[in-house]
């Protein structure tokens, strides 16, 4: 084992972790917000709006994320409207393309996860809320969303972990995140095994932290499913 090489590789790769985290957090944030919109359309009851949401979900779940990313990265510039718009200075940046395609894709999956959560909200609890005079956004904010989110959380944490791993695809559109830097190191040293093992270890550690955080969140939101402990105040 060449510890000197491993540690220098590790240091190089860790320098790329901030880029990976930026890709990850921006795409989860933007994708989550977009997913809320898509979910709202999907459950709106309006056939046109829910049809649009269904089509969106089908397209982004049904085609490879890598192809979506290539289409955004290589394809958008071909449209004059975009190329000469005020957005072009942003859209020509590889990291913006990567975040955009990651967010668009995760929004499709997340919208379905959220919809599943909403379907699991007991109709009786919604009825009870209506009976005290709640409706519209108040009903969603106070009753439907909190219950739906609790139901959606296990599936959503899986989606978040998948997204962390999907950030590796950004290396193929020239974003220097962990996997991209690893490949550059390999092309310089030809030591595939050590470098990729180091990269895999970094993803494992990142995902371990994320999963622990999600477990903690799930635990703190499921007090109502655990035995009653009179000493513990809500």
């Amino acid at each position: 084992m060449d510890f000197a090489f491993l540690s220098s590789t590790m240091v190089t790769l860790i320098r790329a972790v901030p880029t990976t985290l930026v890709l990850f957090s921006l795409s989860i944030l933007c994708g989550g917000i977009l997913a809320l919109g898509i979910t709202a359309l999907r459950v709106s009851g309006n056939p046109v709006l829910s049809g649009f949401a269904k089509a969106y979900i089908f397209v982004f779940r049904g085609s490879p994320l890598l192809i979506q990313m290539f289409l955004v990265f290589y394809g958008l510039g071909q449209f004059g409207v975009i190329r000469y718009s005020f957005l072009w200075p942003f859209l020509r940046e590889p990291i913006v393309c990567a975040v955009l395609s990651l967010a668009l894709c995760t929004a499709g999956y997340t919208a379905e996860i959220f919809r599943g959560g909403i379907r699991a909200v007991p109709a009786k609890e919604i009825e009870a809320a209506r009976s005290v005079g709640m409706s519209g956004f108040l009903l969603v904010r106070r009753i439907i969303a909190p219950i739906a989110f609790r139901h959606a959380l296990p599936a959503y944490s899986t989606e978040i972990v998948l997204m962390m791993k999907s950030t590796a695809l950004a290396s193929l559109v020239t974003v220097w995140e962990v996997t991209g830097v690893a490949q550059r190191l390999i092309s310089q040293t030809y030591r595939t095994m050590e470098v990729f093992l180091c990269a895999a270890l970094i993803y494992l550690v990142l995902n371990f932290i994320i999963l622990q955080a999600m477990n903690l969140l799930e635990y703190s939101l499921s007090r109502h499913r655990r035995p009653f402990a009179p000493g513990l105040r809500a």
Partner: protein, 258 residues
């Protein structure tokens, strides 16, 4: 204020598809009335109650709550409320207690009780909590205020649900078979709470199978059959010589209540 009409229902109709469940029900509740609505399952009594606060949309007829009519529009697709804001307001004035309790499972008992006053009536939080604790003490579950609904027995959950409805300071309380989902030994604790409410002068409309409640607590009994009011009157008349043949046959199934 005795003599004030709290609730008035005129010729209420409800159809599900071609099936007419309510065929024109009229009923008035004065302040302090406790009306028991009896009837076999399928007679439309729960639908009647749910039409009053528009959890079901009536197909026709009028509902007046505390002198205000719920405005309805009659369009191609049938009847619908004219104003969602008015429906929300009317619902906030009618306390509803469900057969299945329907507490919000992710909230503690205290959070369940303050939810409506805090977010619908927009009362200050300290006031909501004070009122809630008083109500929880009144229904006998003050010690459970930080427990979640799943931690409570059915009887305790139903008492919490009654406290939740009372926290809105409703003009009328609607009970939809409040003891039907309970184990027999838990029925008594809920009925005691309801009896105490009746004695305080709360206006109540109670769909029930509890003959002893109908006979001893309510001041009026309404017997529904096939979507109409078969007969109604004071309990001593209804359970006495004045009973209609259909009602006599109906209570025959329950044995003789004391």
């Amino acid at each position: 204020m005795p003599g004030v009409t709290r609730l008035s229902v005129r010729n209420l109709r409800k159809s599900f598809g071609t099936h007419e469940v309510l065929k024109g029900i009229s009923m008035d509740a004065q302040d302090g009335d406790v009306i028991s609505v009896l009837g076999a399952s399928g007679s439309g009594k729960s639908t009647f109650l749910r039409c009053i606060n528009l959890l079901e949309t009536p197909s026709g007829g009028e509902v007046w709550v505390d002198g205000k009519q719920i405005r309805m529009l009659n369009g191609r697709g049938g009847s619908r409320p004219a104003s969602r804001a008015q429906v929300d307001h009317i619902r906030s004035e009618l306390g509803m207690v469900f057969q299945g309790f329907n507490l919000w499972s992710h909230m503690t008992i205290l959070q369940n009780v303050i939810e409506g006053p805090l977010h619908v009536l927009k009362r200050p939080k300290a006031e909501c909590i004070a009122v809630a604790e008083e109500l929880l003490a009144k229904v006998g579950i003050a010690d459970k205020r930080h427990a979640y609904p799943a931690h409570l027995s059915g009887g305790q959950q139903q008492r919490a649900a009654i406290a939740r409805a009372l926290a809105m300071k409703p003009k009328v309380m609607l009970f939809d078979e409040p003891t039907s989902a309970l184990d027999p030994e838990l029925v008594g604790e809920v009925l005691r709470v309801m009896r105490a409410l009746a004695e305080e002068g709360m206006t109540m409309l109670v769909v029930t199978h509890e003959m002893s409640f109908a006979r001893n607590v309510s001041n009026r009994v309404v017997f529904m059959r096939d979507g109409i009011v078969d007969s109604s009157g004071a309990p001593e008349d209804m359970f006495g010589a004045g009973a209609s043949p259909a009602f006599r046959q109906f209570i025959g199934h329950f044995g003789n209540p004391q």
